[in-house]
């Protein structure tokens, strides 16, 4: 019964969170946004004390139910573990806790966070690892499925579905997601919750608390005939059946052992402190907690000085010998602009705030309806979102990334606040500008600027009288409309440089 409840709740959470990550319409977030916000690490980074305390209390009462129900990565591993068990029954064995490894990983994790290398640290963070897998690997499948529906809907004259762009936001993140998935699948297939009990920093922290939980699995030594079936079905490898001991720091309360035991020797209930188990104060758990959520001082990262793409000259619009009718001109894809300072979305407050809190879960990336956000490939900001405008720009009516972020890296922002938040400013370069280099005349950046920050002005360049865009940096909010619309391809003549700290215009 307990197991069935666990499985049902876990299924709801996993499906919900997966939908949250694959959905691109914004619908899932309205109903299920809370599922991301109750995740331990994001909540800790967001200084969301209510959630952190609640999760700790739940763990103190129930044990590590979090790992079996709320954590999507844990549930995902259970699926692989279940498949593994189908291949070979009773495949697990008891193993002693690898305490040094658990604490070692946690220590490295915390140190990396403090050093401002949260991007690298979050490779092992459970929720964001799942997020990356879902966003990089499942969202494309979902979108292709959706696009198929849209294809059918179009022919049926229905507007129920619209097609979505499927594209790789960042190759490194895709690779990280694939590697995480493969490693986790193998580990879970062979040994159940190996990752959760050796590597996962959240698992280690919760394990510390769950030792003292009110409700625990315990073995009735009188009923136990030491058959070992429980241990061979314990995915956490934490049942030492010979000694009737269970390592509660590793037990994830999956309840599988209870159902497996023929003798009903295992039960879940109030702990009976029969042997003199350690009764250390729970101070150490709190200290770990503090170190987790403590604000690391903004580390000035070494920036990624990408040399700007070699200027390719103005797009020469070849005139045809005979002007013929029809056909479509080829449109060259824009290349991501090599910015001196990355642009982070409005609501992030500053690059360092995003940097400190972001767990790289990709929820904002998967939400972005304008194809603006993508994970950074810069080693200092690895997997954290940044904006670029080849496929769209940060539209004034959209605040979706700020609504979904569970870690407080992008804080909720209203439309009005957004329209006055300067995240960067536009920079015009004459070399590629159509208005300077052709007779076509162009003022598309000025026309499309939602802030009215670009004005077309008369000036003289190389002895030629021209009308060119002039950016008012005081009004520009860095939304990227100018960069997106600039007809100079593949290198735009106007681009946005990010600001380290956002400000109100």
């Amino acid at each position: 019964m307990l197991r069935k409840i666990r499985i049902s709740l876990a299924a709801v959470m996993l499906i919900g969170i997966t939908w949250l990550f694959v959905d691109f319409t914004g619908l899932a977030h309205t109903w299920l946004g809370w599922m991301a916000k109750i995740q331990f690490l994001p909540a800790a980074l967001a200084l969301n004390l209510l959630v952190v305390v609640a999760l700790l209390v739940i763990t103190l009462v129930l044990g590590r139910a979090y790992c079996s129900i709320i954590c999507p990565l844990g549930v995902m591993q259970d699926i692989f573990g279940w498949l593994g068990k189908r291949q070979k029954k009773n495949r697990y064995t008891y193993s002693p806790a690898k305490t040094w490894l658990r604490w070692g990983v946690l220590l490295v994790f915390v140190v990396l966070m403090l050093l401002g290398l949260g991007g690298i640290a979050s490779i092992v963070a459970p929720y964001s690892a799942y997020g990356r897998i879902a966003q990089s690997l499942l969202q494309p499948l979902w979108e292709w499925g959706n696009n198929l529906c849209a294809f059918v809907a179009e022919r049926a004259d229905s507007y129920a579905f619209y097609s979505a762009d499927v594209w790789v936001r960042s190759l490194p993140v895709l690779i990280i997601a694939v590697v995480s998935l493969v490693v986790l699948a193998i580990l879970a297939w062979r040994g159940g919750r190996t990752y959760c009990n050796t590597i996962c920093p959240v698992g280690t922290v919760l394990g510390l608390v769950s030792r003292f939980s009110l409700l625990k699995i315990h073995v009735d030594a009188d009923k136990c005939n030491k058959c070992g079936l429980c241990a061979r079905n314990c995915k956490a490898s934490c049942i030492d059946f010979k000694n009737h001991k269970i390592d509660h720091s590793r037990c994830v309360d999956c309840m599988d052992c209870i159902d497996k035991c023929h003798k009903h020797a295992l039960s879940y209930g109030v702990a009976v402190n029969r042997s003199s188990q350690s009764t250390r104060s729970s101070q150490s758990s709190q200290s770990t907690q503090n170190s987790q959520s403590s604000q690391s001082s903004p580390q000035q990262s070494r920036r990624d000085f990408l040399t700007t793409t070699a200027l390719l000259g103005a797009v020469a619009l070849e005139s045809q010998a005979k002007k013929v009718d029809g056909g479509l001109a080829e449109i060259i894809d824009k290349k991501p602009y090599g910015r001196l300072t990355p642009i982070v979305p409005p609501g992030a407050l500053s690059i360092s705030n995003l940097h400190d809190r972001c767990t790289g879960c990709q929820l904002c990336v998967s939400e972005c309806p304008n194809n603006v956000l993508r994970p950074s490939t810069d080693i200092m900001h690895l997997m954290q979102p940044e904006s670029s405008f080849e496929r769209g720009y940060c539209r004034p009516e959209c605040t979706r990334c700020s609504e979904v972020c569970p870690a407080g890296a992008i804080l909720p922002i209203t439309r009005e606040e957004k329209s006055s938040t300067q995240v960067g400013h536009a920079v015009w370069q004459k070399d590629n500008c159509i208005a300077v280099n052709t007779d076509d005349g162009c003022g598309l950046c000025a026309r499309k600027c939602p802030a009215g920050a670009i004005e077309m002005i008369f000036t003289t360049i190389d002895g030629k009288s021209v009308i060119v865009p002039a950016v008012n940096e005081e009004l520009c909010i860095g939304c990227g409309a100018c960069e997106y619309y600039c007809p100079s391809r593949p290198v735009p003549a106007i681009h946005v440089e990010g600001h380290e700290v956002h400000k109100e215009v």
């Binding site: 849209a150 179009e154 507007y159 619209y162 097609s163 619009l317 005139s319 045809q320 010998a321 005979k322 002007k323 013929v324 009718d325 029809g326 056909g327 479509l328 001109a329 080829e330 449109i331 769209g392 539209r395 004034p396 009516e397 159509i434 052709t438 076509d440 005349g441 162009c442 003022g443 598309l444 026309r447 499309k448 619309y485 007809p487």
Partner: protein, 448 residues
């Protein structure tokens, strides 16, 4: 259930009760069927040609996908040309610039399979681009047309799209001596009829009419249909009402060739109110049939060109005209006044999807953008704030827009280079309209 299904089912039922005689006794598509040998022919008194009142416009030809690219479906074009000739169509109109410059070649391939005397071919001197306006380049274009069409004489030669200004006309045909050259070619018999096609300003047309005494236009091609009859000028200020053009030509006994009788399909894809008005009068005829009967009802009309993309277009036109019953005066008035007035209530953009504006150097799909916008207007599905269905209409408009035009080819990318403006025969102020549509879309996006 249509009649055919009805009869089929009846047939099955009948067979079971043994009355097999009923089954399959009637399998025609419609009550109106085209009859061979009934295509009306109009006499061109200048050359003695007997021209079919339906002409085949080779601009909107069938395409097919090959290796992911759109190419001409030559096989289908051949089949359509064969059927057209079989039913008496003998006038084929093309130009060196149509269909990305491929129209003449495919026309030549299709027609060369028939005896030369069984068809009249019309092509044009389309020296729009400044680098084709020299005497040599223009003459080369003319010779190239003959080569592409695989003919050694051209039945109907047109100065293509005269009307934007006299300067333009003089630059293209007078200053370089090309018109004199073509007149000499006519005398030599390599051009059997010389004329021009007209889009644009009245003073240019009047000037062209004044030249008639010296040049002698054998025919003139104008845009004529029941909407442009009285409203062309109202739709775009630069344009001239068709009734003026027709009357001027009629006065001078110049045969009239009609283009855009259907306005690029805008007179067949009509709004539902107009649809019911027309169907109420002739429930068994297509909407397009009215447009062709309108043109064919004017005696000075030599032929009305139809750009037929599908065999069904050809079949429908043949049903309309073979045999042909002219419209009564009442019906003419009904179209010119009631129907046209109703259509004028819808602020559609008068684009006929002729593609002259294309390719836009910045990649926009101009006719595609207008088509989506017009469709929403005609369907009464333009979202307006305050409308109780706003949300649903907004969604349909935006999704439909993305479906019909890729994002990077939509109106918001117009840089206002105005290159298209010189090419639009309807004189639509394309960049202005693009901005209007963009502003409209932007408002939709901002106001969910």
């Amino acid at each position: 259930m249509n009649r055919r299904d009805f009869i089929k089912r009846l047939g099955i039922g009948a067979a079971t009760i043994g009355a097999a005689s009923i089954a399959g006794c009637n399998s025609k598509q419609s009550n109106i069927e085209a009859e061979k040998g009934t295509m009306p022919l109009r006499l061109n008194q200048n050359s003695g040609d007997k021209v079919s009142v339906l002409g085949f416009g080779m601009m909107r030809l069938p395409m097919k996908k090959q290796d992911g690219k759109d190419v001409f479906d030559q096989e289908q074009i051949n089949r359509m040309v064969d059927r057209a000739i079989e039913y008496g169509v003998n006038y084929f109109d093309t130009s060196p610039v149509y269909s990305q410059g491929q129209s003449e070649r495919v026309t030549g391939i299709a027609l060369s399979r028939h005896p030369r005397e069984s068809y009249y071919v019309a092509t044009k001197l389309s020296n729009f681009s400044p680098d084709t306006q020299s005497r040599e380049a223009s003459i080369e274009m003319y010779h190239n047309s003959m080569k592409e069409l695989q003919v050694d004489y051209i039945d109907y030669m047109l100065l293509h799209s005269v009307g934007s200004s006299m300067d333009d006309f003089n630059r293209r045909f007078i200053d370089n001596g090309v018109l004199d050259y073509l007149i000499a070619e006519r005398e030599a018999g390599r051009i059997r009829n010389l004329g021009f096609s007209f889009h644009g300003q009245q003073e240019v047309f009047d000037e062209m009419m004044n030249m008639h005494d010296t040049v002698h236009w054998d025919f003139v091609q104008i845009q004529m249909n029941y909407l442009d009859w009285n409203h062309a000028h109202e739709i775009e200020e630069m344009n001239v009402n068709a009734n003026y053009l027709y009357d001027e030509l009629d006065k001078r006994e110049i045969p009239v060739v009609i283009m855009e009788p259907l306005l690029g399909g805008r007179l067949s894809k009509v709004n539902s109110y107009v649809h019911s008005m027309l169907k109420a009068k002739e429930p068994e005829r297509s909407i397009a049939s009215w447009a062709f009967r309108f043109c064919a009802s004017y005696p000075r009309v030599l032929t009305a060109l139809s750009g037929m993309t599908y065999m069904e277009h050809l079949d429908d036109n043949l049903r309309t005209l073979c045999p042909f019953t002219p419209l009564t005066d009442d019906e003419l008035t009904f179209l010119q006044e009631e129907v046209a007035a109703e259509m004028m209530k819808y602020p559609t953009i008068p684009c006929t999807a002729c593609q002259y504006c294309m390719p836009c150097p910045y990649g926009l799909d101009i006719p595609g953008i207008f088509a989506h916008y017009n469709k929403c207007i005609n369907d009464g599905r333009l979202p307006e704030q305050g409308d109780p269905n706003y949300k649903e209409l907004r969604r349909a408009f935006l999704i439909g827009y993305d479906r019909s035009v890729p994002r990077l080819r939509q109106a918001d990318h117009c840089v206002e280079c105005c290159i298209c403006m010189d090419h639009c025969p309807q004189n639509i102020e394309i960049p202005t309209r693009m901005h209007e549509i963009d502003d409209f879309v932007e408002q939709l996006k901002l106001n969910a």
